[in-house]
Structures are given as structure tokens and as C-alpha cells.
């Protein structure tokens, strides 16, 4: 009788009303798409902000039309002021790190595919799931609001170091209400992410279909699961940090602000606070956040590579354990962001070693991917191109980590363009390549239509080459000591190198423009693309065992049973060189070899 009641509680009828179906939907697939859409809006906003910054940097007096209508104070006559440049910088960072790199690879794809790949009908807590999206959406709306208040967006950077971020209007334009909106937005984002992570974890633990042992989960499912564990810890720490920040700003407390500060000729009424407290709390979140961004992409890329190589990775287990150890180590390294913040020099070394150590699992992953390519039947399409691009990008951004992990070198390279190049390549572009790969791979399942391959490949080539053109020079300029977060380069020694900045700006404009090809492809294919079959890529995992797009209850009320791990490629199966996870047939090694 309990069972029956449970059935009533859980098995919901397909929603009919538009609002329940598309807006306040409990369906993890709709929520996944909503996350994807939000990330899409955020990424294009963020990209345009970066365009404005790049343009202003190399043509400081350029008059940018329309801009003065958005902010007459920030861009008088269309010329970006120093503080507005910092506003753009702050919003770019915040949008990209939180609303793109956290939402797209993790929340968007995870929501759509995690339940399907483990054979579940929905997330463990559909209502929490809906809440987590709408709270995140509110966070985005609050952040965007900062553009349209007279005060303007904050200028403290995405790291919002106290006391600059904690003292209010004396700290400069945008630091009164803009900064408060930032704090509120991030606090909301934390809540949304916590709900999401909670859902991912208990779904993975408890909703797996019959026979779906943990080790039979696809690698991207594993990545999402591990990421959820990291996120749960990270955002549970960032939320308190934001609460303390808001209290310092509006309740007159002194958690972060020490005494005797004179800002804009005004003696601040705080005492005893510790600026380093913010840095510790923030980076305790901030470094794992890097892996929250990259791990899902690692999983997605592995998932796609296996499919397009038509053979399993050298070892799925090793990939899983590497991702786990990366997640684990990510909590012992936050101090490497603070080598020069006046921590005890001994602890700098203590933080440096785990940071260097984290390159071991990363290298293992890379070698596994590379080694698996050997002897494969690699098929090239937009998805696999981006997956391979990811490997190249991950290595390129990864090796520069060697430098920054060492306190001695960090003395020279800290806060230069080298750092910017490093994290843009490894955390930004690499994980976005994962997202692109995932999009080209899964779009048929999500929308029921194929994406245009020609446009996809065009998009890849411009993005891949363009990215190197933008971000490699960042490293070089860092080596000559080009300091980041400057709105223009007034120092003499920079003059000979401004040509490189022009080159980077142009590369950025072109690469950015190429993203509109992707956008067009998305929209065009959504309506005009050719209809997708159930299993366009001959995949083995459960998402390919159901129609595209999947029905509202995924498996049409049937309970899938799983007989294999998802690595059954390069074998003789009834459908071809693969055996699906839910097919009882025994895989026999392909003949002829």
C-alpha cells in the first residue's frame, strides 16, 4: 500500500498547460534546455563584453555607438571610461564563470542526460530541480540589473576582493548598488547550484535502473556526479562568504574590513576585519570551481571520443579515478591564488606541492585519450573535431599551470597576462569545446533534428585556430610583465608590443563572429534540420535507446535493464560494430582482426 501511494506521488501525468510544460516544468529535459538557453544568453553577453574591452584596450578613444545609451556615465559620447572598463571586466568574468562554465557543461547537459543515461524517469527531486533553475535565473536577472541602475555594474572584478568590495560607494562608481546586486546574485546562484548538486548526487546514487552498476555508468555521468560532489562543497562555502560580504556592506559589521581605512578622504567606520578571510573563503570555492567547469567537459569528451573512435578508452576505470583524484586534490590547492597575499611563506610551499601533483591525474587523462586514439577507427565530425580540439586546448592551457604552481615563478608572473591566458585556455575555452562537442553530439537527441555538419566544421576551424591566436599571445605578453586588468597601457615598455594587442583584438572579433555561425546553426537546425533517427551516432548508452526527442517520461514507462558497460564498441553486434547497454546480447569480438 505504501508502494501504491509512492506511485501516486511520483508518476506524474504528462503536463498539458504551456506554463507547466515549458516554463515551470518539472521535466529534467526541459530544465536542461532552460539551463542551456540561459548559458547561451550569458555566453553571448559575456563575449560582447570582451569585445568591448578588447576594442577599448587597443583603440582607447574609439567611440562605440549605442553604448552611451546603455550608460551615459560609463561611456560619455561612446568612449569607455576606466571604471566602465572594469565594470565590463567584472561582468564578463562573473557571467562566464558562473552562468556559462558552471551552467552549460554541468547543469544543462547534466540535467538532460544524467537521468536518461542511468535509466531514470526523472531527477530524484523534480521540484528542487525546477527551483534550482529558477533561482539561478533570478541570480542572472539580478546581476543583469546592475547594467541598468544609475550606479552601474561593480568594478571589483569577479573575485571581488575585500575591502574594495565591502566598503560601499566610497570605493568608486558601481560599488554602491552594483556591488550589492553582485553579492545577492552570487548568493542566489549558490543556492541554485546547491539544490542542483543535491539532485544530481541522490539521482545518481538511488535512481539507477536495474543492472546499472556504478561502474557501468557512462563516463560523462561519472563526471557530472563527481562535479556535483565538488559543487556541493564549493558553493556551500561561497554562500557564507557572500552572506558575510552583504552584512559588511549593509549591516555595518566588520568581517572583512579592518580599521583605520581612509577611502575617498573618508575614514571608514569598520574595525578589525580580515581581508584575507574573504580570499580564503573565496578561493576555497574558487579553485574547485575551475574543476566544476572542466570535469564535465572531460566526461563529455571521453564519451564522444569512445563513440567516434569506435573503440573503448584504454581504461574507463582509470579515467574515473583520475577525475576523482582531481576533484579531491582541488580542495588542497586554493592557496596558490594567494602566494603573494602575505600568507606564511611556508604555507605557500605547502599549497604548491598539491598544485603540482594535480598535474599527474591530468596527465594520466591526457595520455589515456591520446593512447586510445592509437589503433582506432576515428570518425571525423563536428562533435569529434571539438573533442579532439579539447585535448589540444587542455594540454596548451594545462602546461602553463606548471609555471603558476610554483611560488617563485609566481612572484614574477602573478597577475600578468600569463595567468589570464592560462585560465582562459584551460578553464574557459577547453570546457567550452566540451560544450560545443556535446551540443553537436546530443543536439539530435535534444531537439529531434540533426545539426548542419558543414556549418559545424566551419565553426570548429575558425574557433580552434582563432582561440590559439587570441590566447597564446596572452602567455607571451605575460612573460614580459604585461599586467592584467589595465584598461590601457600607459607604460613605455609596452609600446613595442601594442601590435600584438591589436592582433589579439582582431582575432577575438573574428573568433567571436564565428560563434554566430554556431548560433545560426542551432536555430536553423532546430526548425529546418533533417529529422534525427533514434541513434544517429550508433552509440551504446541509454540515451540512444529511446526516440529523439525522448518522450516526457523518457522510457515510455518501461524500466530499462542494463546488461553492459557503455564501452561495447568494435565488437560484432546485431546492429553493427557496437552493442547497446540495454541489449541482452553478448558482445563477440569483431572478426577480421
Amino acid at each position: 500500500m505504501e508502494e501504491s501511494s509512492v506511485q501516486q506521488a511520483h508518476v506524474h501525468a504528462p503536463p498539458e498547460r504551456f506554463i507547466r510544460k515549458h516554463i515551470f516544468s518539472l521535466d529534467h529535459k526541459v530544465i536542461g534546455k532552460q539551463y542551456y538557453a540561459l548559458a547561451l544568453v550569458a555566453v553571448f553577453t559575456g563575449m560582447i563584453l570582451s569585445w568591448l574591452m578588447r576594442i577599448h584596450m587597443v583603440w582607447p578613444t574609439a567611440k562605440i555607438p549605442l553604448l552611451e545609451h546603455i550608460s551615459s556615465a560609463g561611456a560619455p559620447g561612446g568612449v569607455i571610461t576606466p571604471e566602465y572598463y572594469l565594470s565590463l571586466l567584472t561582468m564578463h568574468g562573473t557571467l562566464m564563470v558562473f552562468f556559462v562554465l558552471t551552467n552549460a557543461p554541468f547543469a544543462a547537459f547534466g540535467n538532460f542526460f544524467l537521468p536518461i543515461q542511468i535509466g531514470a524517469e526523472d531527477m530524484a527531486f523534480p521540484r528542487f530541480n525546477m527551483m534550482s533553475f529558477w533561482v539561478t535565473f533570478a541570480a542572472w536577472a539580478v546581476l543583469m540589473l546592475a547594467f541598468f541602475i544609475p550606479d552601474g555594474p561593480p568594478i571589483a572584478g569577479w573575485t571581488s576582493y575585500a575591502p574594495l568590495s565591502a566598503v560601499g560607494k566610497d570605493a568608486g562608481p558601481g560599488m554602491q548598488w552594483g556591488m550589492s546586486l553582485w553579492g545577492l546574485s552570487i548568493a542566489l546562484f549558490c543556492i541554485g547550484s546547491l539544490l542542483g548538486a543535491l539532485n544530481f548526487i541522490s539521482t545518481t546514487l538511488d535512481m539507477r535502473a536495474k543492472g546499472m552498476t556504478l561502474m557501468r555508468m557512462p563516463l560523462c555521468t561519472w563526471a557530472w556526479f563527481i562535479t556535483a560532489c565538488i559543487a556541493l562543497l564549493a558553493f556551500a562555502v561561497l554562500l557564507p562568504a557572500c552572506i558575510l560580504l552583504i552584512l559588511d556592506r549593509h549591516a555595518g559589521t566588520s568581517f572583512y574590513v579592518p580599521g583605520g581605512l581612509v577611502i575617498s578622504d573618508r575614514l571608514q567606520a569598520h574595525s578589525g576585519g580580515s581581508p584575507l578571510l574573504w580570499q580564503h573563503l573565496f578561493w576555497f570555492f574558487g579553485h574547485p570551481e575551475v574543476y566544476i567547469a572542466i570535469l564535465p567537459s572531460m566526461g563529455i569528451v571521453s564519451h564522444i571520443l569512445i563513440n567516434s573512435m569506435r573503440k573503448p578508452l584504454l581504461s574507463g576505470k582509470v579515467v574515473i579515478y583520475s577525475m576523482m583524484s582531481i576533484g579531491f586534490l582541488s580542495y588542497m590547492v586554493w592557496g596558490h591564488h594567494m602566494f603573494l597575499s602575505g600568507m606564511n611563506p611556508m604555507s605557500a610551499l605547502a599549497f604548491s606541492f598539491p598544485t603540482l601533483t594535480i598535474t599527474i591525474p591530468a596527465t594520466v587523462l591526457t595520455l589515456i585519450w591520446l593512447g586510445s586514439l592509437y589503433g582506432s577507427r576515428l570518425q571525423i565530425n563536428s562533435a569529434s573535431l571539438f573533442a579532439l580540439g579539447f585535448i589540444s586546448m587542455f594540454v596548451a592551457g594545462g602546461v602553463s599551470g606548471f609555471f603558476l604552481a610554483q611560488p617563485s615563478i609566481d612572484i614574477y608572473l602573478h597577475a600578468t597576462y600569463f595567468v589570464v591566458g592560462h585560465f582562459h585556455m584551460v578553464m574557459g575555452v577547453a570546457s567550452l569545446f566540451g560544450v560545443f562537442a556535446g551540443t553537436y553530439f546530443w543536439f539530435p537527441k535534444m531537439s529531434g533534428r540533426m545539426m548542419n555538419e558543414t556549418l559545424g566544421k566551419l565553426h570548429f576551424w575558425i574557433t580552434f585556430v582563432g582561440t590559439y591566436c587570441i590566447f597564446m599571445p596572452f602567455h607571451y605578453l605575460g612573460l614580459i610583465g604585461n599586467v592584467r586588468r589595465y584598461q590601457s597601457f600607459v607604460d613605455d615598455f609596452m609600446q613595442p608590443f601594442l601590435g600584438w594587442h591589436k592582433f589579439m583584438t582582431i582575432a577575438a572579433l573574428i573568433t567571436g563572429a564565428a560563434q554566430f555561425i554556431f548560433l545560426f546553426n542551432l536555430i536553423y537546425s532546430r526548425f529546418k534540420g533533417k529529422v534525427a533517427p533514434e541513434n544517429p551516432w550508433n552509440g551504446t548508452s541509454l540515451e540512444w535507446s529511446i526516440p529523439s526527442p525522448p518522450p516526457w517520461n523518457n522510457f515510455g514507462g518501461k524500466h530499462p535493464v542494463v546488461y553492459h558497460d557503455p564501452f561495447q564498441y568494435g565488437v560484432k553486434g546485431s546492429k553493427g560494430d557496437f552493442v547497446m547497454q540495454d541489449s541482452p546480447e553478448q558482445a563477440v569480438p569483431a572478426s577480421g582482426d
Binding site: 582607447p60 578613444t61 552611451e68 545609451h69 551615459s72 556615465a73 560619455p76 559620447g77 568612449v79 571610461t81 576606466p82 571604471e83 560607494k169 568608486g172 562608481p173 575617498s264 578622504d265 573618508r266
Partner: protein, 238 residues
């Protein structure tokens, strides 16, 4: 948007001037005098502009701070002399008060203007300045002015004397004196001042100095006479 504001400003000016030139100006009394100091004033330190080469190279001799500027015969400059009580509020004049940033200095160091009078702030330097007035009664704002950008136009609607600073160049400090009526003066070299065409009545004349504070005197004007008032401030070595 921007153009619309300009149009409004123009109309306002027309209206104001119409009021101003309606009928002959009332011939009245005059208060004049001199502001001096006694004691030894602090030695003004030279300003170190080395952080802003584009400004530093404009000067051959070191520029001195302007908190206490003295002239011949112990005269005290940059003193705002105005009528703090007794005079009716005047409508804002149509002309704008101009505040210029040149060579990383404020010209003038002390700018007096009327409530709701247009304040024009212009940047003649090759570097980007930031204007941050620190009023208590009026609305506070904080704007940057990159080189070659249009002049900033502002208004203040409450009478108040407050400092203005440039966040980018810490040594750039000045004063805005927002006054109720048109009878005011800022002393220059010689420390002399004249408050003209005052209608008969009893007035409180106040002299304000950036670091020596303010002092007031009562004056009664009957007819078109000229009264002499002088202020003496105590100077401190530190």
C-alpha cells in the same frame, strides 16, 4: 536624450536671462574689504607628480599645494566671502561656472557658484581624470573624464561648501562653494573682495577658508553706501 537635455538647458538660460535683465538693476550699497592672516602659516609642500609624467613634464618649477595661499601684506587667498544671512535667494545666473583640470591642477582651486547654476567641468590634460565632489547635503557623484570627452555638466540644488577631489591623482583637491545668492567673492592675490549692489538691510558676511575655518560679521547697509569689512585668520605652522 543628450540633445534633449541641452535644449532644456538652453530654454532655462533664456528664461533666466529674461528675468535677470527685466528692469534696471537696483543701485545698492557695497561691502568691500581684505582678508589677512596673522602668525606663521604652514609652508606649502611641493607636489610630487612623478606618477603622472604627462603632467609632471608641463612644469619647470615644483608646484606647491594650495591649501593655504598667501599674498603680499599677509593677504590670504582662496577665501570665500559671502552673505550667509539677510539677503534673499537669487535665481541662478544663465552663465555656467567653469572648472578646469589642467596640468593635474584644479583651476580655480576654489570655485564659488550659485544653487542650480550650471557647473561645467572640462579636462584639458592628456590623461584621464576623475571628478569626485564630496558633498554632505547634495547628491554625491563620481565620474571619470577621459581626455577628449565632452565637458561634464552638473547642478547642485542645496547651498553647501565641500571639497572636490580626483581619485586618480591624490594631490588634486579643490573646493566647490555652492551659495544661495549672487553676492559673493573669492579672494585672489591681495586678499581683497567686493560684494556689490546690496539693497538696504542687515547682513551677515561670512568668510570661509579651507583650513582656517570661517568667521562672520554683521553689516547694516542703508542706501548706496560702501562699508569696509576685514577678516583676520589665525595661521598655524602645522
Amino acid at each position: 536624450m543628450g540633445t534633449k537635455r541641452v535644449v532644456f538647458a538652453g530654454l532655462a538660460m533664456l528664461a533666466a536671462s529674461a528675468v535677470a535683465f527685466a528692469g534696471p538693476a537696483p543701485a545698492g550699497g557695497t561691502v568691500s574689504g581684505k582678508v589677512t592672516y596673522e602668525g606663521t602659516p604652514a609652508k606649502m609642500k611641493p607636489i610630487d607628480m612623478s606618477k603622472e609624467p604627462s603632467c609632471a613634464k608641463m612644469y619647470t618649477t615644483p608646484q606647491l599645494a594650495e591649501t593655504v595661499v598667501t599674498g603680499s601684506g599677509n593677504s590670504l587667498e582662496n577665501v570665500v566671502v559671502y552673505i550667509s544671512a539677510g539677503a534673499p535667494d537669487d535665481p541662478a545666473p544663465s552663465t555656467a561656472a567653469v572648472f578646469t583640470q589642467k596640468g593635474c591642477r584644479y583651476i580655480p582651486h576654489v570655485l564659488a557658484f550659485q544653487v542650480n547654476q550650471e557647473l561645467k567641468i572640462q579636462n584639458e590634460d592628456q590623461t584621464s581624470h576623475n571628478i569626485h565632489p564630496l558633498p554632505k547635503l547634495n547628491r554625491e557623484w563620481n565620474k571619470s573624464q577621459p581626455p577628449g570627452t565632452p565637458a561634464i555638466s552638473e547642478k547642485y540644488d542645496k547651498a553647501e561648501i565641500f571639497p572636490v577631489k580626483c581619485n586618480v591623482h591624490p594631490w588634486m583637491h579643490g573646493t566647490f562653494a555652492v551659495l544661495k545668492n549672487s553676492h559673493y567673492a573669492v579672494t585672489g592675490d591681495g586678499g581683497a573682495f567686493t560684494l556689490a549692489n546690496l539693497p538696504p538691510g542687515k547682513y551677515t558676511i561670512t568668510a570661509w577658508h579651507e583650513s582656517y575655518g570661517d568667521q562672520s560679521q554683521e553689516v547694516t547697509i542703508s542706501g548706496s553706501e560702501t562699508k569696509t569689512v576685514s577678516f583676520v585668520f589665525k595661521a598655524k605652522p602645522y
